[in-house]
């Protein structure tokens, strides 16, 4: 009984903690659904600089709050999504972008997977081809004639 009671208490405490956590991230009202969608996708695609792997939209780190405020402010001022991302990169570095931009030094990052798939495809084609020609060449004329003879004998018997 005591165990059940303490488990229940724990459950309630966890729920309260969960609520407190949720309360740390402000709810914003938007008149314009497009603006709201942009706000959501921007805050989901910007990475919190201090929490290792969390987007600013669900991080309660103070810096994430400040970044959300700034995103909201810039949206109100009519700044484009690209410019807002650039605004954050200028201050916090490329680290804040979950999707690194395609540029000289990220070429390897973007190109390597595609390159590897291409390499794999080329290898498969080469292997299949070499097998085909190998099986075709496997028997000489003489051997083929002997094989045919053997098959014929089998049939007649």
């Amino acid at each position: 009984m005591a165990l059940i009671r303490s488990l229940l208490t724990l459950l309630v405490l966890l729920m309260v903690a969960g609520l407190a956590q949720a309360g740390a991230i402000e709810v914003r009202e938007f008149d314009d659904p497009v603006m709201e969608q942009r706000y959501r996708s921007l805050t989901a695609s910007l990475r919190c600089p201090t929490c290792e792997n969390q987007a600013i939209d669900d991080s309660d780190a103070p810096v994430s709050g400040d970044m959300r405020d700034r995103v909201y402010l810039l949206l109100q001022e009519g700044v484009s999504d690209i410019e807002i991302r650039e605004h954050m990169v200028q201050r916090f570095g490329d680290y804040v972008l979950y999707n690194p931009r395609l540029e000289g030094r990220t070429l390897l990052l973007w190109g390597l997977p595609a390159g590897l798939v291409l390499l794999g495809a080329i290898l498969v084609v080469l292997i299949v081809r070499s097998r085909k020609s190998a099986s075709a060449k496997a028997l000489s004329e003489e051997e083929r004639a002997r094989l045919q003879a053997l098959i014929n004998r089998e049939r007649t018997e």
Partner: protein, 177 residues
């Protein structure tokens, strides 16, 4: 035989990738290139911690003298641990120091300086993270080395240990002085 060796290629590739990812495990994610390197110290206009009537701006950092700008707060335990090193830099190595009292109240900020010493020529009062945001500050303490022309030359994130004063801060100061 040669063709046989080719079969080891995927294994070699896998090992190379593992090694690459393995060394990533021991990297500190906070040690990354600062976005502000080699850029001008941002524009700002804020009051000082010491005197609410006195407003300062970017010209404070382009005086022709190299300056260490330290972002601190009374609420930040590592800032307290860092103070002896900052005092040492200011007094023994004669480096001009400017503080940014960050996300703090004036009362607490001044109390902090009373208690732990004041290495700063002046403190910029930034309770609402106006300048901090422009500097890309994401936690105190952070330290910026600003050269005589007001260009940011070095950015240190986090606590500065006595060893780091010797191995990182002082060499950078010498380099840009």
């Amino acid at each position: 035989m040669k063709r046989r060796l080719l079969l080891l290629l995927p294994l070699v590739g896998f090992l190379a990738l593992s090694l690459f990812l393995y060394q990533g495990l021991s990297l500190n994610p906070f040690h990354r290139e600062s976005a502000l390197m080699a850029r001008d110290f941002p524009e700002f206009e804020l009051a000082t911690l010491e005197d609410p009537e006195r407003r300062v701006d970017r010209s404070l950092l382009a005086t022709g003298e190299l300056t260490l700008v330290n972002v601190w707060g009374e609420w930040c335990p590592e800032c307290k641990r860092e103070m002896p090193q900052l005092l040492d830099l200011a007094h023994r190595h004669d480096i001009r120091m400017v503080g940014i009292s960050w996300k703090d109240t004036r009362e607490k900020g001044l109390g902090f300086l009373d208690e732990f010493g004041n290495p700063f020529e002046i403190n910029i009062f930034d309770p609402d993270n106006e300048l901090g945001f422009e500097l890309g500050v994401f936690g105190a303490p952070e330290t910026f080395l600003v050269d005589a022309e007001g260009v940011i030359r070095y950015h240190h994130v986090g606590y500065i240990s006595p060893g780091e004063v010797r191995d990182k801060i002082l060499p950078e100061v010498e380099k840009w002085r």
